[in-house]
Structure formats: C-alpha cells, structure tokens
Symmetry: none
DNA sequence: CTGTAAGCGAGACGGTACGTCCGGTCTTTCG
DNA sequence: CGAAAGACCGGACGTACCGTCTCGCTTACAG
C-alpha cells in the first residue's frame, strides 16, 4: 500500500491522482474540482500532490496530454475532401463529447484567466494540433488540389474556427452537413 | 448620499459596484475577483451586493450588457464587403482589446464550467449578436450579392468562428489581411 | 393604527415593544434577543425603537420596572419571623420562576459586562428593594425583637445573599426549610 | 485521540489562544470579546480555534479552570474562625479583583442565558469549590466546634452567599468587618 | 379647512463578526 | 526519503444584526 520508500516517486500514487482528477472533472465539473477532493478520491496525501504538481491545471494537463494526440491524428486515404470531413468530425467529437475534450475545454477556460496556462496550452497542444491539421492541406497541395502558394495557416483557421466557435461559444450542434459545406466552400474559396 | 429607503435601491451603490467589478476584473483577472474585493473597492457593504446580485457573474453580466451591443452594431454603407470587414474588425477589437470584451471572455470561460451561465450568455448576448451579424448578410441577399437561399447562420459561423478561435483559443493576431481574405473567400464560396 | 402626529409618541407602539421584548426574552433567552426581532414581533419599525430606547437593555428595564416592586413588597402581620419567611419566599419565587425575575436575571448578567447597566440596576431597583427588605427588620427593632444597634444592612445581606446565591449561581432549590433555618439563625445571631 | 500534524495539536497555538482570550477579556470586557479578535491577537487562524473549542466560553473555561482552584484552596491552622475569615477573604478577593474571578463572573453571567454553560460551571467548578468550602466546616465538626448533625451545605450557603451577592449583584465592598461578623454569627447560629 | 410638522412602518445602507470552507505549507511518523 | 495523516495560517464565503438614514403616509394642532 505504502510506496513511501527510497526508490523514488510512486507510480501508483501518480496514476491514482490523474485518474481521480479526470473522474472528478467529468463528474462534478471544474468548479467543484479541488485538490482536497482529488487527494481524498485518490487515497493520497495532499502534500503528495503539491510535491509533484504545481497546480490543479498541471494535473489535468498531464491527464490530457497523450489522449488528445491519439484522437486527433488525421487519416490519409488520398481523398482530400473525405479526409478533411473525417478529421473535422473527429475534432467535433473531441470538442463536444470526448473525455479528453472536456479537459481541453476546462483548460481553455482557465486559460482565459491565466496567460501562463494559455501559453502552455498553445505550446504543448495547439501547436502540435495545428501541425496535424495542416498535414491534410499539405497533402492536398502536393497533389495539386490546392495552389502551392495557399496560406495554409489561414485555411486551417477557416476550417477549425467555426467548429471551436460552435463547440465552446454558442453550443450549437455540429452536424455532418455543416462540416461538409465548410470543407467544400473552403477548398473552393481558398 | 444614502438612498436606502422604501423607494428603491441606491443607483450610486449600483454603479460603484459595476465599476469596481469591471476594474478589478481587468486589473487582476477573474481568478482574483472576489465579492469582498468588489465591496471594498466600491465602498459598499457586502450585503448590498448579495441583496441585488445572486452571484459574481451576475455583476459582470450587468456591467457588460449595454457596452457590448453598442460596440458591435454593424455599419450600413451599402458596400457589403467593406461593411463586413468593418464589422469583423470591430468584433476582433472587442474580443481582444475592449474592456467589455474582457468581461465577455471571462464569462465565456466561466460558462465552460457552468451550463446555466453559458445558457444565459447565449440568451442575453449571443442571440442578439447573431442577429446583428446576420443583418449584413441579409442586406447582401436583398441586394442580390448573395443567393436568396444561402444559409446565413452557417455563413455567420464561417465568418466569426475563425475570429473567436484566434482570439479565445490560439491567441494569434487578427490582422486586416486575415479578415479581408476571410470575407472575400466567404462571399465567393457561400 | 398610525399614531404619527406632532404631539407625542404612540402608546400602542411602546406597549407592543415592551410585550415583544418580554416574550422573546422568555422564549429564546437573552442571547437571541435582537432589536430586529423585537421590531418584527412588535410590528414596529426599528427606527421607532432606536428613537425611544437607547439600547436593548433599556427596553427590558422598562418592561421589568413596575412588576418587580409589586411582587416584592413585604407583608406586615406583626410576626417578624413569619413575615420574613413569607417575604423571602416571595423573593425566591421572583428569582427563580417569575417572569419579571427572568428579566432581572438577564439584566444582572449583562451588568457583569456593562458597568453602566449594573449601576442603573442598583439605582433603580436594588436600592429600592433594600428599603423594602429593611422594613421588616426595622419593625422588629421597633418591637424590641432585635437590638437597636443591629447593623440592618449587613443583616439584609445575610438573609437575601444565600437566596441570590442559590438562584443565580448554584441553581440549588430554595426550600421552605432552608428559608426557615436562615431566618431563625439570623434572628438569633444578629 | 487527535494528534496534530499527525501526532499532536500545537501546544503553542493552544496557549496563545488562552492567553489572548484572557487578555482581551480583561482589556475590553466580555462584550467586545470576539473569536476574530482572539485569533488575530493570538496569531492563529480562526479555524484553529473552531477546531478545538466549540465556543467562546469554552476558551474562557479552559483559561480559568486551574487558576481558580489554586486561589481558593482553604488554609488549615487549627483555628476555625480564623481559617474561615482567611478563606472568605480569599474568596472575596477572587470575586472582585482577581483575574480568574473576572472570567468567573463573565461565565456566570453567560450562564444566565445559557443553561448548558451554567450546568458545566457547576460541574467543573462550583461542586469542587463547595467541597473546598466544606472542608473548613468539617474540620470544625471534628474538633467539636460545630454540632455533628449540622447541615454543612446550608451553612456554606450562609457563609458564601452574602459574598457572591455583594460581589455580583450589589457591588458593595466586602470589608473584613463584614466577613468577621458573618463568620461569628454563623458559627454561633448554625 | 388646510398646511405643516412630528411619529410612524418600511427597508436600504455601510459595517462587524459569525461559523464554514478550501488553498497551500509544514511537521511528524512509518516503511 | 517518499508517502500518509492532518494541524496550521490565511482569507473568501454567505448570513445575521447592528445602528443610521431616507422615504412617503398618517395624524392633529395652528393659522
């Protein structure tokens, strides 16, 4: 049970904390997520949490890091439009229903009040995500489906922006039709 | 000075609270915004705040309500593209540098953890804002610049989504070029 | 209903306040006796109370003043011992079960924390009460049952002190036997 | 058994609280004695006080418990009258000028409004005090100075009652003459 | 017979203290 | 030496009353 010993940090405690934080976030929302609560749920001393994580959000970060990348890696079938639709649908699912997405939304919200967190979120997630998003467009350029001088960053914003907007701001449903129209209009208009 | 009597609340106290809340939000961020702090800054008793506002966010709501509508009312010069660019630029300014926009971002962030707040934000601000956003497109339809059967709601999302995305999520700068490209691409592709 | 006029206060309001204060003291104890509560119970504005009574204890004082004198006026049958026993029994009843006595105990208690109140209690009640207590002994002196040079004040203290002690400090019952012994011992030993 | 930081409550905090409560009571009186004030004076968090003491009076109780017994332990010289006079003088001093006595008066006063406190005061102090008071009389019985069947409880009341009465009720001075007369009259009349 | 001034119920006001809760730190004991 | 336990200080929470202050109504004397 006790792993307090001279052989380093307890992996068991670490995983229990991450799991508890994740569960409690989904169960009660971020507002009710307290370090005390996580410690109790994980069967861990508060000090153990403070020893290894600077803040509540750091725990969530660690809990969320790996999951997101897996869910959001784009497909590559050779059909640009279809791949885009598939990828954006996965993104929509991530933002609205996924477990990891819930953590992302919470962190993004906290980021509005905490510039350091916002910066970290960009560095550790959004930048990598942009790379993944661009891959699809770069392949389209390589295939000649998009002009070689197209501003891919701008195009990415035009594709994913409306999804984030609906998911995080207005709460509107993101239908397949919406995504399909979005993809076709963007491919034509870029 | 005192207006405490049976004929209603003190307008002076009300304004002092709204001003204090607004100032403290911008100065210290939402995380450090406390009722106690607002009361002290406003020179008002805590009970006076609790008497009139159910929660901290209600104060912010009231502080932000009127300002936002004024800042975000679209122009009408007859030139659709120019009006859209002007309007979206105003929106970008609102989201990134405006005082009222700071309150909006804070409320949106809280809305991620508090569905009731999110709903209220939609009802009292976003719905009205969508109406304002659509006006420009409706005029374009009337002028024949857009097809009569265009899905204006979707178009609005495609126009404003990328702005919210950059302002609230990635923190990228929103340049005039970005807006210009966005408007032209959307008008062509809608 | 309203007695507001330019010639004098409302007797109705005054009585309602006294009654409410008395009731609430007995019902809830002094600790829970608040001006707000009295005002509400009496159907009177707080300001009306503050206009006429400087403090909570002043209300109680007024509520208690007349009753006490009536309950504690000594008899005069010519039989000193019997009169003393009767009188001390009335005092015991006053201190332990009487309504007015409850107010007296509350005021005495407050007097421990408030010297001004203690002084007022002495001036307005205890001095007069001592006069009443001494009457019995003075009659005994006149009848030759006590020596002419007896220190009556000291004797009063020896008679009533044990009663106050039991009633206010130890809470022991004050039986007729206790009073009888006390009277006989004092008459013999004085 | 609660043990502080895993094994023990902070004795330092405990003593600081008791000292602060005692000081503030004497300086400002019971009326102005607040938990917040005690916490601040003691350099202790409010929570620490609420953790260990159910109420303000419990702090005073603890502050007063040991002191009283020491001040009021009766002498034993073999001379009953003299010992009684010495003991009652100590009691008078306790009630009127002693630090611990000030706490006793405050607690007694609160006990008028709070039966539970009154009961506790009897159990933890007055009962033990009565035992101490009786000792002197029991020794007199053993020496044959008082009849074997004397009602010592009643006699104690007759001796100490007048002192409590003067100290707590009328505020009259308690002179040596008063005590001397009291003792002699009681020894003769018992 | 009509103003006007005092007393009234009502209740908002700036405050103080309440008792509770959580954050983050520190100390102690165990393995 | 890491982990569990949990007491510690600090400080915000929302509540209850405090004593003060207008407000508009009701009266009853004064002009």
């Amino acid at each position: 049970m006790h792993r307090g010993n001279r052989h380093g940090r307890s992996e068991q405690a670490r995983l229990a904390v991450l799991q508890a934080a994740d569960d409690l976030l989904v169960e009660n929302g971020f507002a009710r997520l307290t370090i005390e609560g996580i410690a109790q749920r994980a069967g861990v001393a508060k000090q153990t949490i403070y020893r290894w994580w600077p803040s509540k959000t750091d725990i969530l970060f660690e809990a969320f890091a790996t999951d997101a990348a897996e869910e959001l890696t784009p497909p590559d079938t050779g059909d640009t439009a279809r791949d885009l639709i598939t990828h954006l649908s996965a993104l929509a699912r991530f933002l609205t229903v996924s477990h990891a997405g819930a953590v992302f939304r919470a962190l993004t919200a906290e980021g509005q009040h905490d510039p350091a967190l916002a910066a970290r979120l960009r560095e550790e997630h959004l930048t990598a995500q942009r790379v993944r998003d661009r891959q699809l467009l770069q392949r389209a350029v390589q295939r000649g489906e998009l002009p070689a001088d197209a501003d891919l960053d701008t195009t990415v914003d035009r594709l994913v922006g409306p999804l984030y907007y609906r998911a995080l701001i207005t709460g509107q449903e993101i239908t397949t039709e919406f995504i399909t129209e979005l993809v076709h209009a963007t491919l034509n208009g870029a």
